[in-house]
Amino acid sequence: MAKKTYSFYPGCSSQTKASSDNYLKSTNSMCKYLDIELKEIPDWNCCGASIGYAEGGELPRIALSARNMALSEQHNPGMDLVATCAACWLSTREAKERIAHSSQTLSEANTALAEAGLSYKGNQAARHMAEVLVEDFGFDELKRGVKKPLQGIKFAGYVGCQTNRPFGLAGESFENPKYLDNLVEAMGGEAVPYDQKVTCCGGALAFSEPEKSQKQIKDIIESAYDHGAEMIVTPCPLCQANVEIYQGEVNKRFGTKFNIPVTYYSQLITVAYGGTAAEAALDGQLIRATRLEDIAKK
């Protein structure tokens, strides 16, 4: 297959030494194996996520995404814009649709952008990396690169909210999207069915309402365990952080003994394609994914 090039929006959490540093590293490795070139949008800014609403309001939030899209159009013309963070993707795509639906919003956004010497045209699609894998490659093509199948490992594919709603991947259902399970199986792993696949982990409220959100996190992990999963895999950096980081807190609060690794699909693919533990950024896990490390060592 010929090289594919995308305009890349990494997002704050994927910066070096930020909370999903390991997502970025493993995405870069995965892309190397798939012959994908990611051209970072120069000088991209934070998208504001959903939680920006209280202080940010509406138009300033749209302007944040419009600036990224305008920079992408200008510097990376002719490419699709691709994000790895669910929240980044959602904000960008949402801003794009708001602008497309209202000529007033378009002109207001461009008035704001003009202050930064930019203008927005809306000629690039805003996509999530999972869409690239599923739509531009497809499972059969992805399977072809597998050198070390993730045989015998049981994964709970945790899709969460914002990669799934309100947009989601084309052709998938909101209540039971299958693409993450299909990805796991394409890599030779086993995807266990469980009932909390699209449950919200609390999102940003994990921080501001810890007790209430940790109940959500507990339900998700408990269900994964109950259905035999040894590892959770997710496409969303905030899901990953919330479900991994707070396990100790959840254990204290609920008397559980959770200790389940939470990984990214990009780490699975990197290991299955023969990448090293370092390439898959497995050293970035707070709860070591030893079964993946073992396969990477083989």
Partner: protein, 199 residues
């Protein structure tokens, strides 16, 4: 300004709340009321808030902390038979309450949301360390130490896994064109304030 709206809260919501013009489309089916992950903690689920808006219960709606429990999970949006953008209406209501100074004092999500925004508006990117320290110290220094201690193991683990950079406290990530970025946000805010009568 708010005086003009006293007698017609629905009209005010339509003009000043993000996607507020959708509220009148709600048919009170109740599907959204069962959709919120933290629903047990909402005194008034979205369906009820929409009913209260139409009944003109301005004070009760805007002082409620219900919409601050919205996790932006979009469960409601994909289920609503009338396709109301409920998530954004919740954000918009919270924003209006906050702008009018009516939101409950010490609402933690509101504080976090403000910190988050101010953090990103300064440098163009979020500085996770400053953000989390800010959150721990929001209740003052003593409580902050306690909160930070409680989460210390998490923080140290993140530093060890190279997913939190202690040096961020002294700078860290940011964009280059800060002046253009600030001017853009200022302009966007100006336009919005004029349109929503906050100016």
């Amino acid at each position: 300004m708010s005086e003009n709206y006293r007698n017609n809260f629905l009209k005010e919501v339509e003009e000043r709340v993000e996607e507020g013009h959708w509220v009148k489309m709600c048919m009170q089916c109740g599907v959204c009321a069962g959709s919120c992950p933290l629903g047990a903690h909402w005194a008034h689920p979205p369906q009820e808030l929409f009913m209260m808006i139409r009944a003109g219960k301005r004070e009760e709606v805007l002082t409620s902390d219900s919409m601050w429990m919205c996790t932006s999970c979009y469960n409601c949006v994909v289920r609503c038979p009338r396709k109301l953008p409920i998530t954004h209406i919740m954000h918009g209501l919270a924003n209006l309450a906050y702008r009018l100074g009516l939101s409950p004092k010490n609402q933690t999500t509101q504080k976090f949301a403000s910190m988050f925004w101010n953090n990103l508006a300064q440098t163009g990117r979020v500085n996770e360390l400053k953000l989390s320290l800010g959150m721990y110290f929001k209740d003052g220094f003593g409580q902050g130490i306690k909160n930070a201690m409680a989460m210390q193991s998490v923080g140290l683990g993140m530093v060890k896994a190279k997913r939190l950079n202690p040096m961020e406290l002294f700078g860290g990530h940011g964009i280059k064109d800060k002046s253009g970025f600030h001017a853009m946000l200022k302009k966007a805010r100006e336009i919005e304030d004029r349109r929503k009568n906050f100016a």
